[in-house]
């Protein structure tokens, strides 16, 4: 939540940067991918993006207006990023009411009930996606939302001399954000150069994913390259919900890759990136602690840190198996219901006992 005022304590100078310019950079990085969605299926997926964004912004505006009396909470642009990222994970012909529901739930249960941008533990866009799966299971599982022959704008682009390279530039299958590996990567490089993301999480994630996938796969498993990149570059690097220190980010990225491969190997066919990122979101606090910085003048107690890291890894593996088991039973929806109860409880508790310092 924002507060305006003049500096009354040091430092009296500040680097010129802002949360809204970070959000603007993320939107700019995603823009080419949104254009590729139009290339694939014309205006319909673009409409999904707009509805998801509009719903996210409206939900944030109404909620902050009602509960905090603010009218400028949406100005930082974070709900636009959430809406766009959510749409990127959706099928191009997702019903618009479902996209609207997802956008609103993403900001409400992903962010606002915890106190707004930065206070959330889980990636809002992925929270929105899981809500949609839990509340519209039939719609989200239907094959019809993934393809419509009449809507095809371009089935392929012939811009490069090689067929495989052309599929990296454009590939007309998958979710809205997944049509162009090239533009996903270029957007990531832009964010890297602008220092909006670090290389640690995406690199550790993709490297671990590739190595483990090659190790366990005997041709029987499939994954979406664009889907993994979308998760690695744009979702797993989400600042509030990911690890903070560099060592922590390497571990965090590697564990997302490992959990995703575990999901694939144990039969999770589509939601593996979503599960892996949300699961590690939940472990960001202990990851930050185990991989905390070595303070000035301190000697690193390596055996103790290693023991902590092993225990943490065991806990993450256990939790991952639990989630996969729930998925196999078809009980993820109950997990979402539990999350709703927990979020509302958290919100009410905060209303009753606000932060020690009003922000």
């Amino acid at each position: 939540m924002k507060r305006f005022g003049f500096s009354t304590t040091a430092p009296f100078i500040r680097r010129t940067d802002s949360v809204s310019s970070i959000m603007a950079d993320v939107l700019f990085a995603l823009l080419p991918c949104c254009v590729m969605a139009w290339v694939a299926f014309g205006s319909r997926p673009v409409l999904v993006i707009l509805v998801s964004c509009g719903s996210a912004v409206l939900a944030e505006f109404l909620f902050t207006r009602l509960y905090a009396g603010k009218t400028d909470a949406v100005a930082d642009g974070s709900s636009l990023v959430t809406g766009t990222l959510l749409a990127c994970t959706l099928a191009p012909f997702t019903p618009l009411y479902a996209a609207a529901f997802g956008g609103a739930m993403a900001v409400l249960f992903g962010k606002l009930l915890y106190g707004g941008l930065g206070r959330n533990r889980f990636n809002p866009a992925l929270v929105g996606r899981e809500f949609m799966t839990a509340f519209f299971p039939a719609v989200m599982a239907s094959g019809a939302i993934w393809y419509d022959r009449n809507a095809v704008n371009f089935s392929s682009l012939d811009v490069l001399p090689d067929a495989f390279l052309n599929t990296l530039v454009f590939n007309g299958g998958g979710a809205i954000g997944e049509y162009s590996v090239l533009f996903l990567v270029l957007g990531g490089i832009y964010l890297l150069l602008r220092k909006r993301i670090g290389w640690h999480i995406p690199l550790a994630l993709t490297a671990t994913f590739t190595l483990l996938f090659l190790a366990v796969s005997n041709g029987g498993y499939q994954f979406s390259l664009a889907g993994v990149l979308l998760g690695a570059i744009y979702m797993a690097t989400d600042m509030p919900t990911s690890a903070t220190t560099r060592a922590g980010q390497l571990y965090y990225g590697a564990m997302i890759g490992a959990v995703a491969v575990l999901c694939i190997a144990l039969g999770v066919r589509h939601a593996y990136m979503s599960y892996a990122i949300l699961l590690l979101n939940g472990f960001a606090v202990p990851v930050n602690w185990v991989f905390r910085t070595r303070v000035w003048g301190e000697t690193l107690n390596l055996p103790s840190r290693l023991a902590q890291a092993v225990a943490l890894t065991a806990a993450i593996a256990g939790a991952a198996l639990g989630v996969i088991w729930l998925h196999a039973q078809g009980w993820i929806a109950y997990l979402v219901l539990f999350y709703i109860a927990w979020s509302v409880g958290h919100f009410l508790y905060r209303q009753y006992k606000p932060d020690a310092v009003a922000v």
Binding site: F12, T293, W296, G297, A356
Partner: protein, 425 residues
């Protein structure tokens, strides 16, 4: 380390000037934080320049001398931004400049065993900002000093007072180093300067060639903030990372600001107390600005008035922009540790929630995780603050400078330290 745009260019080349004295001075009676000197004069008394006006009763305090001749108008307390109340002796300047008779000057060098006493007598405190009594620091190093590090790294933006002093008071600087080192007897005597002040090497060269200064060396430090902080300087010179619990002097590394060493020269050679210091007046609203040799106790308003600064529309800062303090009362005086008076544009700041971007983690010179202090403070969780080693924070402000959400990290750090102290007591 944090890097800034060059803000020093405005005042760097101007040399050291003097300004008309203020008609009224407000001499602070504080040294290291929370320790005060006891006044030995009363309202109505006439005092002479250099006369002792307040006596240090505890070793963390320092004597205070009259910076001008005149009459004592009274003693009052001013409240610092952090809430501590500091006694201030008000002095009406008679502009006669009548000096107290100075004590006998030594023939040749004073004996080493007398040096600490002479420095205490002159009221020397560290001029880098912390105002730690110099005599106490040198005594605590005892005979174990392995390195005497003369700190010319002025890493705060805008400030060039130390640079001007090194360039224009070079003879006094070298004599001060030599005399102090007759006490410390450090084998390694190092003057550290920052990369952008390399031109000083040519200024120092004729002195380094002299036999009495043989063995002294100049070390160029990479630029960045907070390069001038004692622990960073010790690391650069000796390669040792001193844990926050260790005091550099007690480990044999004596770090002294260049201004302190010049003041030591005057105290030891001429037995003159500290009654002036060099102050940078700069910032976007200060016009030309410059470096000035200013009597201690000169009110900020007097100096700004001479620069035609209007109090509205600007934020006035005493010290550097990173660690200085805001001035709202124009009678706030220049103290022995004040290196600058800055007139900065008053900009509105939008504070938002921490978004966990980790810029503060990258900026922290002590390799801490400042974002955890915001969280720990909000939750009033002293355990979390201690786990993440808030005790090691040197309050340099680099984290808050880097924060894109303008999270009030320094406020949470100061409040967090108070929270831990409160839990202990």
């Amino acid at each position: 380390m944090t890097r800034f745009a060059d803000t020093k260019v405005a005042t760097r080349e101007g040399g050291i000037e003097t300004l008309p004295e203020a008609p009224f001075l407000y001499v602070p009676l504080s040294a290291h934080r929370g320790h005060f000197a006891r006044p030995v004069v009363q309202a109505g008394d006439r005092v002479l320049k250099h006369q002792l006006i307040a006596r240090a009763d505890d070793p963390f305090s320092a004597h205070v001398h009259a910076p001008v001749s005149g009459h004592v108008a009274g003693i009052r307390e001013i409240t610092e931004p952090d809430g501590t109340r500091v006694p201030v002796l008000m002095l009406r300047n008679d502009f006669e400049g009548a000096c107290a008779a100075s004590s006998d000057v030594w023939e040749g060098d004073p004996p080493p065993e007398a040096i600490a006493d002479l420095l205490a007598e002159a009221g020397l405190v560290g001029e880098g900002g912390a105002q730690f009594p110099t005599a106490l620091k040198y005594r605590s190093a005892g005979q174990h000093a392995s390195a005497f590090i003369v700190n010319g790294a002025e890493c705060e933006p805008y400030l060039t007072a130390d640079y001007a002093l090194m360039r224009e008071r070079t003879a006094a600087l070298f004599e001060g180093i030599r005399l102090v080192n007759t006490l410390l007897r450090a084998r390694d005597v190092v003057i550290v300067i920052e990369d952008h002040n390399r031109d000083l090497e040519a200024v120092f060269a004729p002195y380094l060639a002299q036999e009495c200064y043989a063995g002294y060396r100049v070390q160029i430090l990479t630029e960045g903030y907070p390069q001038g902080s004692a622990r960073q300087v010790v690391l650069a010179v000796t390669g040792r990372e001193l844990a926050p619990s260790l005091h550099p002097s007690a480990e044999g590394f004596v770090v002294s600001n260049v201004g302190t060493v010049v003041a030591a020269c005057r105290a030891l050679k001429e037995r003159l107390p500290v009654v002036t210091r060099i102050v940078t007046v700069s910032g976007e609203g200060a016009g030309e600005g410059g470096n000035y040799d200013v009597p201690i106790g000169t009110p900020v308003g007097h100096l700004l008035g001479l620069h035609g600064v209007s109090p509205r529309r600007h934020t006035i800062v005493l010290g550097g922009p990173m660690m200085g303090r805001p001035v709202t009362d124009w009678t706030t005086p220049v103290a022995k540790g004040s290196g600058g008076i800055l007139v900065l544009p008053r900009e509105s700041v939008t504070q938002e929630n921490c978004i966990g971007c980790a810029r503060c983690v990258e900026a922290c010179p002590m390799r801490l995780m400042p974002l955890k202090y915001d969280e720990g403070w909000r939750r009033s969780d002293p355990g979390m603050l201690k786990r993440y080693r808030l005790d090691a924070c040197i309050e340099c402000g680099a984290c808050e400078y880097s924060c894109p959400a303008n999270v009030p990290l320094m406020a949470s750090i100061k409040a967090g330290k108070a929270l831990i102290r409160g839990e202990k007591s």
